[in-house]
Amino acid sequence: TQLLEQSPQFLSIQEGENLTVYCNSSSVFSSLQWYRQEPGEGPVLLVTVVTGGEVKKLKRLTFQFGDARKDSSLHITAAQPGDTGLYLCAGNRGNTGKLIFGQGTTLQVKP
């Protein structure tokens, strides 16, 4: 059973386009993290959201935590080829060391 469902699984867009990646669950999470992973490397932490309804911005990336803390979204404005990679959402229940990951969204941005 996949506790966190990410959509879409694959996304191929042109440079300059906008996109949104969704991370959904029927479970409540105490926090949610977004990571980006390059092939053959470990995930790199982008952001942590904790409060329901919270919105955080990281340059062209906007992250939102759902009001009920069951879902999150990642919006990229004017995507660039450097944004290419695997985007992973990961939820934490009860502030433990166990992160529950979604299956990831592979993003390809073509120049």
């Binding site: 966190l4 105490s30 926090s31 993290q33 990571y35 053959g40 490397e41 470990g42 995930p43 790199v44 932490l45 942590t48 992973l88 990961a90 934490n92 502030n95 433990t96 060391g97 166990k98 992160l99 529950i100 990951f101 979604g102 299956q103 990831g104």
Partner: protein
């Protein structure tokens, strides 16, 4: 400051053998978590250690074991290797309970 380091980078083993993977956390971090990432999937939690004690265990068989040392480094040991154990093994460290985790580059294990 150095990030999380893992060794070896790559490893090739034969079915039935055992393997030990090593991880050094970020300086000052006392929690280490281990994950297995199969190609095309998100990482799956294996263990968490905090202050040298096991704090969590994922749904993995007893062939998987781990420990944490006084300097907070950690080892993951897998015995009786199966083809299905082929994966990227990731170590993550955190300063406290583990909500924000910082990952190492991983060890790519191939079982033939």
């Amino acid at each position: 400051d150095a990030g999380v380091t893992q060794s070896p980078t790559h490893l090739i083993k034969t079915r039935g053998q055992q393997v030990t993977l090593r991880c050094s956390p970020i300086s000052g971090h006392k929690s280490v978590s281990w994950y297995q990432q199969v190609l095309g999937q998100g990482p799956q939690f294996i263990f968490q250690y905090y202050e040298k004690e096991e704090r969590g265990r994922g749904n993995f068989p007893d062939r998987f074991s781990a420990r944490q040392f006084p300097n907070y480094s950690s080892e993951l040991n897998v015995t009786a290797l199966l083809l299905g154990d082929s994966a990227l093994y990731l170590c993550a460290s955190s300063s406290g309970t583990g909500r924000e985790q910082y990952f190492g580059p991983g060890t790519r294990l191939t079982v033939t």
